[in-house]
Amino acid sequence: MRTSIVRRALGTASALLLIPAFLGSAVASQAQAAPTATTAAAAATDCGTATAIKKKLPNGTTWTMCWRMSGTKGLILEKIAYQPRKESQPIKVLASASLAQVNVPYDSGSTEYNDLSDIGFGNTAIDIGATECPGGTISSAYITQQERNVKALCTSVLPHGYAYRSDIYDSTGHQKKYTKQGSDLVVFSLSQLGWYEYITQWNFSDDGTITAKVGATGDLSPGDYSGAGTGWPIGKGNRDYSTAHYHSVFWRLNFGLDGAANAKVQQFDTKKAGRGTAAEILKTTKTDVTKELAGTSALRRWWRVVSTAGKNADQHPRSWELVQQHSDHYDAHAYTSKDVYFTQYRACEQFASGNSDPACPVASGTSVDKWVNGENLTHPVMWVNVGFHHIPRDEDQTPMPVHWQGFQLAPRDVTAMSPLTPDELSGGNGQGH
């Protein structure tokens, strides 16, 4: 059935669409979670002898991936593929995705930690209890430094609220409400670093959005107290100033778009271009990123990684857009002073700082900022830096409520319409504009 499309549906801001996965865990009602999701055998996803993560979400989207635990990097997801309801084959997205650093300097100037490269998120992985993974699956892995199997991974399906809603009038003027609730495949692991605890989480939404986030909980450092200006008084009176500190979290994303190592990177900037008849004219320009880049966030600036191997049914190249959330980058280290890096793939470049693979010479630098040196970018690795400056508050006393930081990857022209578009409206592709 062909219906006339309401124009506003086409212009919805991506940021609005993308927020639910960040809130999802908080608003999720467990009673609705996921019993309809199916866990298929590993056969379809090539993880070898290992059991793949494979979930078909209630709205028909299937996500598949392999997983493992690294002592240093913690949870590593590989061969991530996305299969919308109407696609006959999974669409390959990422060859690998993992954390690349968690840098924690204290404002007092008296201490600093590199939680990932100096301690390790797998080395400190802890067992996930059944009540922490309701309705999900807990998978164990051998952690070499702990010399034991750890219940390291929880996979579950959680609702994330609205996928969409729209009142649409057909050609005869009859109104029909289209609305759907969305859901995410959620995978996470836990790491306990002293008194701090981290949740390394990925949400894979039924609309194709990928959300990466790290949550910090546990307790504030019991030994780091300072004074006004570098701390905040917690507890009674103005006695104990818990020291403010930073968490700069880096992710390393090695794309494998449509099964190819090669991909293009593009930067977009939208700038004011004079007054129109009723409002300011905004012009968006594209810059091809053909050489390695250390990128700084700016108003209306974004990046995408574009497939060289696959197009959607509209003949648009498939791409994945970096959607940044709020981030205060830490300007006291060079490598944390930028918001995103694109480097040419090298297997031995694994950590955003403190890289410790002897196959990469020390002279070439051990942090990502040093690796941006003008090389042509044909097989891009994206490094995302998200900084959170944590000024403690009374509420952060034990146990500290989880604070999250992260980013999202949104599909841009991966499918001709959203994979959640109801069949009755799928004829609307290319109509109404």
């Binding site: 993880c47 309701p134 306990q192 694994q350 010479p361």
Partner: protein, 279 residues
């Protein structure tokens, strides 16, 4: 934090600490109480199987919204065991058998015999094993493992890339100035050095107070997590400038089944077997 801590048995742990650390805690007041509180958490959280929906609610906090206090999940949690055995293919967790085999292949035929372990023994100090980054999507799918060693004799990190599919060492790389997280053995060695050092006085005193009089004599009385310390990657006082070229370790330190004792400002240089303080 402070308030709750004060309702715990108010051991005078920190205040009796005579070293700088103890003095600092006494100055900040809240320190001791915090120690006790954190210990409680460390004990209760990992064992969270009681249906207490308030303790593990970081991510899947959901049941608390249900009326009538229905805290038990309505859907069961299932479990997948860790893979085991030597014969693995593709991309998935390393098994214990694979790790053991990779180490043995890496050290076959007397490899790295001229290296030195953390306590001065012959051969390299084993650090870690990890699956190599896949060259996917363009590379082969061999089960390739990287085994890391530290050679204390030459202060070098050595990586052996072992192809478990072929059973061969494919390459050996070494470098100085790279310091991955310390192993449990290296961390225990660091703790032993600290315990025996004058700068370990505060730790010994706090331990004795926390255990009602037991002397701290060995690392095995502690739960430890080692932190590598590399001055090339972070700022540090001049007397620690060697750390990075040397292998240096800090520690999160906890009395076994007891409170934390904050030792994070103490750095043990495992290469020259000395202890220094960050401040």
């Amino acid at each position: 934090m402070t308030d709750q801590g004060e309702s715990r048995p108010p051991e005078s742990t920190g205040k009796t600490g005579t070293a700088g650390r103890g003095v600092r805690r006494a100055l900040i007041g809240g320190g001791i109480a915090v120690v006790a509180t954190v210990a409680m958490i460390a004990i209760t959280l990992p064992l969270n199987a009681s249906g207490d929906d308030h303790s593990g609610d970081g991510v899947n906090a959901a049941a608390s919204g249900a009326p009538g206090g229905a805290a038990t999940p309505t859907t069961a949690t299932s479990e997948n065991a860790a893979p085991t055995g030597e014969e693995q293919t593709g991309r998935g967790p390393l098994t214990k058998a694979e790790v053991d085999r990779a180490k043995s292949i890496a050290l076959a035929r007397g490899a790295l015999r001229s290296a030195e372990t953390v306590d001065g023994g012959r051969g390299p100090e084993y650090v870690d094993t990890d699956l190599a980054d896949s060259a996917e999507p363009s590379g082969d799918d061999a089960r390739r493992v990287e085994v890391l060693f530290y050679d204390y004799g030459h202060d070098q990190l050595v990586k052996k890339t072992v192809n478990l599919t072929t059973g061969k060492v494919e390459r050996t790389d070494s470098a100085s100035g790279m310091q991955p997280p310390p192993s449990a053995d290296e961390t225990a060695e660091a703790a032993d050095l600290l315990i025996a050092d004058p700068l370990g006085q505060g730790l010994r005193t706090d331990f004795k107070a926390a255990t009602k009089g037991t002397e701290l004599t060995t690392a095995s009385q502690l739960t430890l997590r080692g932190i590598s310390f590399n001055t090339a990657e972070q700022s540090a006082p001049a007397d620690l400038a060697k750390c990075g070229q040397h292998r240096c370790v800090r520690m999160f330190t906890q009395v076994k089944n007891g409170p934390w004792i904050d030792t994070t400002d103490l750095v043990v240089d495992l290469s020259d077997r000395t202890v220094a303080r960050i401040q």
